[in-house]
Structure formats: structure tokens, C-alpha cells
Symmetry: D2
Subunit: 122 residues, 4 copies
């Protein structure tokens, strides 16, 4: 099911996209935590897992602020963009792995979309 | 973006659908809270808002348990099915309103999908 | 039970205080949402409830970032301080009510503690 | 700051204790995730980290249901008791370690308090 099929009250199309990116990024990061712990080695180092857990959480918070219509969403989206960017870089360092590449990609996409959302309000 | 386009590790298709239903239900419930508070009257009564907030939260928790691969997901999905069912009934009582109908519909869909998930593990 | 009785790994005393303030503020805000919806009138207006729900969520996120040891906690604490400050002002406008006063007070305390935490890292 | 100093609306003393146990258990589990990832070995195995993350999340959800006054709290507390119990056992297997012992202890305490809360409503 796609977000634009959902009936969201007073949410503009570009914000709907940003919400969806945040929820997707939350989902992939959380799922990738499990994947990384199974791989072990550098994948399960504390800094990497911590970054992915932090990324999952701020994505959720940013999505929820937009869903509630809070005008502070530009502030949470700003922080979210920063963390997603760093999480993407970290995943890319893990090398040539389909799961890590997919995680990096959704993190970049979410970062870009949150950055625009944070500036739209400034 | 649809969930089946996401790269989720070790998540079966029916579970991916359930995750998506939970995330959609979380999103619509949270967004509908704002809508109801603006409508006022019976829409903003404490029992209704509380039920929608509870529904949004248990949907998130159930989605996260599945994304993490926790085998306790059948327990959270069981509780989620119950709460979604009651939230759907509550929304239907609000009458002939597109937003409330849409919220009731995604709640029913999520309830059905969580119920099956909870029984698949039993 | 007080936080300093908890065994938290690598968390300095001032951060433990900030975590506790965030968790207290989360708890009181969420509980006060229910109180406000029962009072009705200006207490249950959408902007006020939305602000308290947003405040509860960013407090949780900030606490979690500190508990995980994420170095991004100074960013979430910065946003948290801002939102808590505004939530405190909003609660104070509701007048001479013990619950609203208590909510305003914990919001101010959390804002102050998060502000210091956000600057300590700058 | 202790929970009984907080102004919580319509929350009985035994429920206030249960909320505090849930928040403490959430905090210690999340913090212990970081500790375990640093220790490595069996401490950072996927099943253990996943269980502690799940425990942290259901504790939060149970606390929130009680803070909102949802009558479904007996259902979330029931699931929470089960997960806390298993998390305690898992932590105890990690041996003679102050952090793991402290985590096991708060998990047992939270399990006991949630079990009573879940039965009080039955």
C-alpha cells in the first residue's frame, strides 16, 4: 500500500513523500540492525549499530511530527537529515553488500527529502 | 514507495504485508487524532482520542517487533489486532465522514492481518 | 526508584539527570493530554494537544539518544529544549490549575537541562 | 526525581510504581545494548540484542498505555511481563557481570509488577 492512497488530513504531497521516506528508512534501518548483528565483525560494532538505531528512531519521530501537523517538524527533519546522511556513509563503508547498499540508499533518499522539508519552513 | 520494494532481511511476504498494514494504521490513526481534535464534539472525546493514540502506538510496536525479527511478534500482533478492532468500531460510530471511514478501514485491515500473524505462530 | 540508583553504563551524572528530566517530562505530558481532553474547552484545542504530544515524543527520543550514547544527543536535546519551552508557556496560559502548573514546571526543568546538554557538546 | 513526586492525573499508586518500573527497565535495557555491543562475544549475539531491544520497546509501550489511562494496559502489561522475564533469564546467562546483573534485576522487578497489573484487570 502506498502512502498517497492513505487518507491523510491536511498533509501536502511533498510532505506525504517525506513521511513515507522516514517510515521506509526507519523500517530498513531497524531490519538491518538484525542483519548486521548476524554478520558480525565490523557490521556489529557498537558505533554502527548505535547509529542505525538512532537513525531509526529520529525517522520515526520526524514522521510522527509531520503526521500530527506539528510546525516543529522542520526542526526534527533537520536533525533527521543529518543523522540519515551519516548513517548512509557508515553503511557504504561496509562494502559491496546488497542489504547495506539498500540501507544506504534509503538513508540518502530520506536525508534529501528531510533536508528540503526542514528548509521549506525556514 | 511500497514495502515489497524495500530490502528487508529474512522477512516473509505475508509479514511484509503485516508490517505495512501496521505502519499505515499507525500513520492514519495519528493523523486522524489531529483531524478529530479540529472537529471537536464527540470526535474529540477523551476515550476516542485515547483509543486512537493507543492504536497508533501498538501498531508501531508490532511493526518494530516484526522488523527486528522478534519471535514475540505474535504476542504484540495479538494485542494489536484487538485494539485495532475496537478502534475501527469507534471510528465507525463517528458517522459518515471520509476521514473516519478511511481510518476505520485501515484499522480493520490491520486487525485482520495482525490476527493471522498472531495465529501463525501459535 | 531514582535514576542514580540505576546501573547505566558510561553515563555521566549530569546526563543521568537530563535523561530523568526527559522521562519525567514525557510521562507528565502524556498523562496531561488525557487530563486536558477531559477538561475540554481551550485545554483540548488541537494546537495544545498537538504540542503536548510532540513534547512527549521528542523527550522520549532525547532520552533514548542519551541512553544509547549517541553523540547526536546534543542535536535532539537542542530541539527538545525548544519544544519543552513552548509547551511550558502553553500550559501556563491554561491558568491556575495544579496539573497544568506541574506540567509547565517539568517542561521548564527539562528545557533547561536539555539546553545545557545541547551546549555541552557544541 | 521520583515518580511519586510527579503530578499524574488519575493514576493509582500501584500503577505509578509499574510505570516507573517500565521506564527504568526501558532505560537500563537500552543502555545495556550499548554495553553488550562493546563487550562483544555472546553479549552481542543477535538473539540477545534483539531481546533487549524488544524488551525496551514493550516497556515503553506499557508505560505509555498506563500514562494515557488506556484500559488495554492490562494486555500490554501481560506481554511486557513475559518478555521481561525472558530478558532477565538471558541477562543472567551472561554471567557474573554487574551491568548484566543489574539489567536482569530490573527486568524481574518490571515483570513482577506488570504481571500483577495485567491480572488486576482480568
Amino acid at each position: 500500500m502506498m502512502t498517497h492512497q492513505l487518507t491523510l488530513s491536511q498533509v501536502k504531497p511533498e510532505m506525504q513523500d517525506c513521511i513515507q521516506n522516514c517510515l521506509d528508512c526507519h523500517s530498513v534501518c531497524l531490519n538491518t540492525v538484525t542483519y548486521c548483528l548476524q554478520k558480525g565483525g565490523m557490521h556489529s560494532e557498537v558505533d554502527h549499530i548505535r547509529l542505525m538505531l538512532s537513525c531509526a528512531e529520529i525517522c520515526q519521530t520526524s514522521a510522527d511530527f509531520m503526521l500530527l501537523g506539528s510546525h516543529f517538524h522542520h526542526r526534527t527533519c533537520g536533525v533527521c537529515a543529518e543523522i540519515c546522511e551519516q548513517c548512509a556513509s557508515d553503511c557504504e563503508k561496509m562494502g559491496d553488500d546488497a542489504q547495506m547498499k539498500a540501507c544506504a540508499q534509503i538513508c540518502r533518499q530520506c536525508a534529501e527529502s528531510c533536508r528540503q522539508m526542514s528548509m521549506a519552513m525556514a
